[in-house]
């Protein structure tokens, strides 16, 4: 079995209800091929976060299966799954919990048993990939918001994940930080699933998009086509910003 034919992420018939009875997912099917960048679009309350928390086994116990690079998400291989799925949460202050940037980036690989010079090298490489090497010894709360978000990306890149899952990566970023993060994400050679409301950002970065609405995948196709479908967008409470024309500029690479 050649690994390149195994999709990075394969979700089959995933359904989930919270313990209080609220059902968030009603049978989600989603396949993300290796190296793809896919935007997961959906209004608030569509079940996006619930889906994300299933990808690394934080939430389990519903119907259906999640498979990451051929490995099913199950209790027995949770440690391996969490190395393969790198989730960047929305608030970098939640993600960066160690006293310095260097220690934060080192946390994941150190928890997996890496030590000494190999650990140093991995941390250095991950910080270099997001252009934050010279901030290694700073405490996270002394960085700007955009810098913190980049470090948050480094903390999961250092694990060499199979798939990078970003929760609202552009939220709270000023235009320059937004562009810098886009450049970084484009430069990475990794599968990306980007959860967002930011439709122009999705179009800029992801050739393919899926719409999650009311717990099911309502649409799946090239991002430009989905965004150009007025009726679909309206139906799922996804509105383009004023003056933005998705047909004018195709997604890059």
């Amino acid at each position: 079995m050649s690994l390149s034919f195994v999709p990075s992420l394969d979700v089959r018939g995933l359904a989930y209800a919270y313990p209080d009875g609220h059902q968030a997912l009603f049978g989600v099917d989603l396949t993300v091929e290796r190296g793809e960048r896919v935007a997961l679009l959906g209004p608030n309350g569509a079940g996006k976060t619930t889906l994300v928390l299933h990808l690394n086994g934080i939430l389990t116990g519903g119907a259906g299966t999640v498979t990451v690079a051929g490995l099913p998400v199950a209790k027995a291989n949770l440690a391996e799954i969490r190395r393969k799925v790198g989730i960047v949460f929305q608030d970098p202050d939640d993600q960066l919990f160690m006293p310095t940037v260097r220690e934060d980036v080192a946390f994941g690989p150190a928890a997996a048993g890496l030590r000494g010079p190999e650990l140093e090298a991995a941390v250095h490489k991950a910080l270099a990939r997001v252009g934050m090497q010279e901030y290694a010894d700073r405490p996270p709360h002394h960085l700007s918001f955009g810098q913190r978000r980049r470090v948050a990306v480094a903390t999961v890149l250092v694990m060499e994940p199979e798939i990078l899952v970003l929760d609202e990566p552009s939220s709270n970023l000023d235009p320059a930080s937004r562009r810098e993060l886009a450049d970084i994400l484009r430069s990475l050679d990794v599968t990306v699933l980007m959860v967002t409301h930011d439709l122009p950002y999705a179009l800029e970065l992801c050739p393919r998009a899926v719409v999650l609405s009311e717990g099911v995948i309502a649409a799946d196709g090239p991002t430009g086509d989905l965004l150009a479908d007025d009726e679909l967008m309206r139906e799922h409470r996804l509105e383009l910003p004023f003056g933005f024309d998705p047909t004018r500029k195709p997604a890059t690479r």
Binding site: L53, N56, I58, A79, R82, R83, V85, I87, F89, D91, D93, D94, Q95, F97, M98, P99, T100, E103, A106, F107, G108, A110, A111, A112, L119, R138, P139, P140, H141, H142, T155, V156, M159
Partner: protein, 253 residues
């Protein structure tokens, strides 16, 4: 954010005291304080000698006396208590500056004042020459229970985040025309404190989620081991050992 690049107690420097490993300094300060506390209060000259010792440490560390004096303000509540003692403690009375005061009370006040001031000064010098981060590493090295070190480390990481949140809530209150004046407004302040607690609690849950996602299983990986050479231990021991000698001399006249 308000916070500078280091804690306000810390004075950046490259003196021998700054360079000393943090766990040596912690042990030295603890030893010194134990010696000071066990000195009989009548040995006035011994306290003068201890003060001279601390003065020498401050000089080597190049911490200005003004800085130490300003940081001593934290001691004020204890000083107020000490000043009460000559008036409330019963016993033999004497006249001091035309006021009736009790002799045991005077000795008690002197005892609290001298020992307290020496202890606080030693702690201020420790904090001024050791970064918070290094103190944590020192505590870890001294085999303090890892859970306590983790809690302290999260306090340092999130102290500023929570203070910031508190400040934003206060700005929001005042923007809606609320100024806390007097007892009648305590209810509002109490509710704000409650809201802040719930927010911090929820943040705690999100941080835990982020930690678990990166492979946390209950213990923090030890990334930096601080080590000390025999010479460093010897120089750190200089302070408590000299103090102990002074104490022993005081006991064998």
């Amino acid at each position: 954010m308000g916070a500078g690049h280091t804690h306000k107690l810390y004075r950046h420097g490259h003196s021998p005291v700054h360079r000393m490993p943090p766990h040596c300094k912690l042990v030295a300060v603890l030893g010194f304080v134990v010696v000071v506390v066990s000195t009989p209060r009548e040995a006035v000259w011994a306290f003068a000698a201890y003060a001279a010792l601390l003065g020498a440490v401050a000089a080597v560390a190049r911490v200005s006396p003004w800085f130490v004096l300003r940081r001593l303000v934290i001691e004020v509540p204890f000083v107020a208590f000490a000043f009460l003692m000559p008036f409330v403690v019963p016993g033999e009375q004497t006249r001091l500056l035309g006021v009736e005061v009790s002799v045991p009370g005077l000795w008690g006040a002197w005892n609290v004042l001298a020992k307290g001031t020496l202890g606080v000064t030693a702690s201020v010098l420790l904090a001024a020459t050791t970064e918070l981060r290094a103190l944590l590493l020192g505590l870890q090295r001294l085999k303090l229970p890892p859970l306590l070190v983790q809690i302290a480390s999260f306090m340092i990481r999130y102290g500023d985040v929570i203070t910031d949140e508190m400040r934003r809530m206060s700005v929001a209150r005042r923007s809606r025309g609320f100024e806390a004046r007097g007892v009648r407004h305590w209810g509002v302040l109490a509710k704000s404190a409650g809201a802040l607690f719930i927010r911090s609690y929820e943040r705690g849950e999100r941080v835990h989620l982020a930690m678990v996602s990166r492979g946390y299983t209950g213990s923090m990986p030890v990334l930096d081991e601080v080590t000390a050479s025999r010479a460093q231990w010897c120089s750190a021991a200089a302070l408590p050992v000299t103090a102990l000698l002074i104490l022993l001399l005081g006991w064998t006249p």
